[in-house]
Amino acid sequence: MASIIALVILGLLWGGVYLLMAEGLNLIYGVMKVVNLAHGDLIVFGGLLGYSLFAHAGFTPIAALLPVALVLGALGAVVQWGILERIPLVGADGELRTLLATFGLSYVVSNTSFLLWGGQFQSIPFLQGALRLGPIAIPEGLLACSLAAFIAALLVDFWLHRTLAGKALRATAQSPLGAASCGLEIRRIRIIAFALGTAMAGGAGALVIALVPFQISSGGDLTVQSFTLIALGGLGNYLGAWIAAEILGLAEVLSQYYLGPDIASAIIYLLFIAVLLFRPQGLLGRLGRV
């Protein structure tokens, strides 16, 4: 029997990986109420960009993190400025219009990836060993991704709650009209938020491609996985997303061991259905927020 401790550690670390990939989506939804359906494709784009930096310039995923995040952030800013900002959000079908726009964007991003990198799975050999604590092995790659997820979550939380720009962002999220009447440049603030969200998606991709090979069609699954996770935690809720990610990681690893891999892949959705039935606002979400 593998020690239950080893499985729990693996589960928590994979939870960190899932969180890392969902954070950008959570930020964009939290402050803008836009579900970015291109999220997974942006993660893959970031990952493949990191792969190219590794293959042609020798950048490790950690060194590639910043350049990839900058490129994806710039891309996000252009998308927000050029497309989403011009779509009226008011009315019953306001959210539907942004959904359609980001759905279209997902095609543009994944096909651009295909033109640039082709259709094959790519990955990077990096941090493949393990830290040993007595009999327990802690995979380095998983640990690095989890730490990055944790740091990113802390930084975003600090930025949103302790800085003027962050507070302006939250004010804009609560009431665009109120924020604008206080003299905030809500256009610019929304561009920053979307750019930050896509930068986080790209950064996540640059790290995770060292753990999971990416191919241009991987994006769809990642979007669904990330969206399920943030919905589970309560859309836009950071602590909730973190708890949901850890629960998912644990459930996935433990069920893969005890119940078999077929059930493990279904567990995320079984949990999601249970939450929708019994706590539709998500684990830590407030009623009426969704």
Binding site: L7, F121, P125
Partner: protein, 395 residues
């Protein structure tokens, strides 16, 4: 009045038909003197295009060589191909067009199994022979009599790898299987081969194709203490299993995968961790098969890259088809099929021989190993370019 109009329109139809027949007759005669047109759909664009483009290049090279050697039945060979974008329903429409509108003389196969299976009923209805590049055995049990298999059948994929393990005295296997059609059929072949060689499968588990985290699965497999960990996999899952094994320091005497190590991306993605891992391939540029050295040289010159197995089996399938046509002396599809079923030909991809239902029983597979960052052909011994490095050391 109405009746009169009917008669008149009937007359017009007859006239039109006669006119068409008059026009078509010279055209048909011209077609017989023109090139022999060989049709296929190929995934030239989209995520599934890289192997299919190799296949198209294999077909093109074969056609070029046939033409250089004087053509077929005194006529040139011309390949008519359309892009199916990897979509089975598009492929069906394209084969419909090839058969009924373009009226091609011969058919070649699309890649891969999904597309081939989609066009199989249509091709069979039209009674057109098609050397098919689908490895799964289902299409070659007799229900599609005009399809013949021109690639190694799935159950034989990993036979030589099991043979290598058995030759080293390894006794137990842990089998990890992706839960899709090809790997499952492959796993049944592995189990049969293992039993035949006196080995035992001590752990067997399947996983869905969306799995990205293999840590718990590999941990569980290791508890059965297998000599060999075998994956019936594709590229991404084979990498995932190797990563999980290395990160948790799970060791076995041998790691072997069906698809994964054969791709160059396996070595690029895993770096040093790829070294020592075994994979299966249906072809290798150094094989001592009939005409292989010439094929590799010609392919390299024409397309500026080394041929892979898709290119080799495609090239061989057109060569075998042409040989059958030559033997028959006409384009009679039934006679061509019978000639193919009776064929026993050495090709660049191996010895081409079929069962009475068209199953490929001649082609086999080969074992490669990543050694010092490159693939080496290690088994069977008579084709090897390097000795297999066994057992696999600790990570």
């Amino acid at each position: 009045m109405a009746r009169q109009r009917q008669v008149r329109s009937a007359g017009r139809i007859i006239l039109a038909a006669a006119w068409c027949a008059l026009c078509a007759a010279p055209a048909a005669r011209a077609a017989e003197e023109g090139p022999i047109r060989v049709g296929c759909s190929i995934t030239e664009t989209g995520p599934y295009s890289p192997p299919a483009v190799f296949e198209l290049q294999g077909y093109r090279l074969a056609a070029e060589e046939i033409n250089k050697a004087g053509g077929l039945l005194g006529r040139k060979v011309e390949i008519v191909n359309y892009d199916d974008q990897g979509n089975p329903s598009t492929a069906v429409q394209l084969y419909q067009k090839l058969i009924y509108s373009d009226r091609v003389d011969l058919l070649l196969s699309p890649y891969e199994t999904d597309l081939m299976s989609a066009v199989a009923p249509l091709v069979t209805r039209a009674k057109k022979v098609m050397p098919s590049l689908g490895a799964n055995v289902d299409a070659f049990q007799g229900q599609f009599p005009y399809l013949v298999q021109a690639i190694t059948e799935t159950p034989r994929y990993m036979g030589p790898a099991i043979d290598l393990a058995a030759s080293r005295g390894y006794k137990t296997i842990a089998l990890l299987i992706q839960n899709t059609q090809f790997p499952q059929q492959l796993a049944r072949g592995i189990e049969q081969e293992a039993t035949a060689k006196g080995m035992r499968v001590v752990f067997k588990e399947s996983f869905p194709p969306t799995t990205t985290d293999f840590s718990a699965l590999v941990l569980k497999a290791a508890e059965a203490h297998p000599d060999v960990i075998v994956g019936a996999t594709y590229l991404a899952d084979s990498e995932g299993i190797v990563r999980a094994a290395k990160a948790q320091n799970i060791n076995a005497k041998m790691f072997a995968f069906s698809i994964g190590p054969v791709e160059p991306e396996f070595g690029r993605g895993l770096g040093a961790a790829a070294d020592g891992v075994f994979g299966t391939t249906l072809y290798f540029p150094t094989l001592h098969t009939a005409g292989n050295a010439e094929f590799v040289a010609a392919f390299k010159e024409k397309f500026e890259r080394m041929p892979d197995y898709h290119a080799a089996v495609a090239y061989a399938s057109l060569k075998v088809l042409a040989e059958a046509v030559r033997k028959v002396g006409s384009l009679d599809q039934d006679k061509i099929r019978d000639a193919l079923l009776a064929a026993s030909v050495d090709t660049v991809a191996g010895h081409f021989q079929l069962s009475p239902t068209g199953l490929q029983i001649g082609y086999t597979s080969y074992v490669l190993q990543w050694q010092h960052g490159a693939q080496a052909l290690v088994w069977p011994a008579d084709q090897a370019t390097a000795a297999p490095e066994l057992p696999h050391g600790a990570w």
